[in-house]
Amino acid sequence: MFRLIFSPKWFYGIDIIFEIFFVLITLLISFYGYKIYNLSRNKEHKYFSISFLLIATSFIFKILTNFDIYFNVFRTLRIGFHTIVLSYLYNSGILYVSGLFIYKFLTTLAFFGLFLLTTKKHSKNDIYLIIYLILISTIFSSFAYYIFHITLAIILFFLCTHLYDNYKKRKSASKFLVLLAFLMILASQFAFMIIFLAMEFYVVGEIFLLIGYFILLYNYLMVSRK
């Protein structure tokens, strides 16, 4: 049995606004990465741009599925007959599961892509194997939501260790900001893991994400306007 909604009722819609903000930031970074790729023709820069584009796309799927669940299902609940409501819930459930599946798969793939880019050395076989494991963990996370957050937290943890090494090599404010942003995104995963204790942890997780993506935006603006 999977849970349909993780957000507290008072937070419906606010999370969607947060996520629209995440989409805009990640699209901006993806576009800038693509601009760099156009000049450098370096594949690393192309994959960097694609990774952020995947994050943006994944949030679009999350927004659409949440929007459908929060507003359509519950509006029908108030005005419809009981049997119609049940059938609508069933349809929305399918949409929700498939929408969330795409969201989880794309998010994990995107952060894994960023991890690969920072670590640099890896064989093609390793990459195929890990993509397979990401797919498996995404499928199983439909039954136990926390598997997705654990998987993402592990990838983010390794990504953060590489960003920390990068910061330590030659310290700079922008390197620190990027590290801090990804630490916030990592912290959000811990909050999402314990939603079963209280739905308010969903809000905490979304706030961590908001801080993380805001720091990424601030870093982009700081670097590109200097």
């Binding site: 800038y32 601009k35 760099i36 000049l39 450098s40 023709r41 370096n42 690393e44 820069h45 960097f48 960023l114 880019l117 920072t118 590489h162 960003l163 090494d165 990068n166 700079s172 922008s174 390197k175 900001l177 990027v178 870093n219 982009y220 670097v223 590109s224 200097k226």
Partner: protein, 90 residues
């Protein structure tokens, strides 16, 4: 070991070498300063001239490569890009 330079690095090295020499440089010195083969440098010079980033100036039988105003803006944009990539460890 130093990693291979990509196009951004090479273009940046060319433009910053010209800038460091006061805005214009002799082609042979540029080749030495930007650590490029003659063939590669020629292709980059042609590309950057077409973009309007640099120009070739000939005075009293001497040939120079000079950075344009657009080139100065371009090198500042490249610096931002390099800083941005560096912040992600790329």
């Amino acid at each position: 070991m130093k990693s291979r330079r990509d196009r951004i690095d090479v273009i940046y090295d060319i433009l910053s070498a010209i800038e460091k020499e006061g805005g214009q440089i002799k082609p042979t010195r540029l080749m030495y300063k930007s650590n490029l083969s003659h063939k590669l440098m020629k292709s980059h010079i042609q590309n950057l001239t077409e973009r309007g980033v640099i120009e070739e100036i000939t005075t009293k039988k001497k040939k120079y490569i000079a950075i344009t105003e657009d080139g100065k803006k371009f090198i500042s944009e490249l610096r931002k890009m390099k800083r941005f990539l560096d912040s992600f460890g790329l």
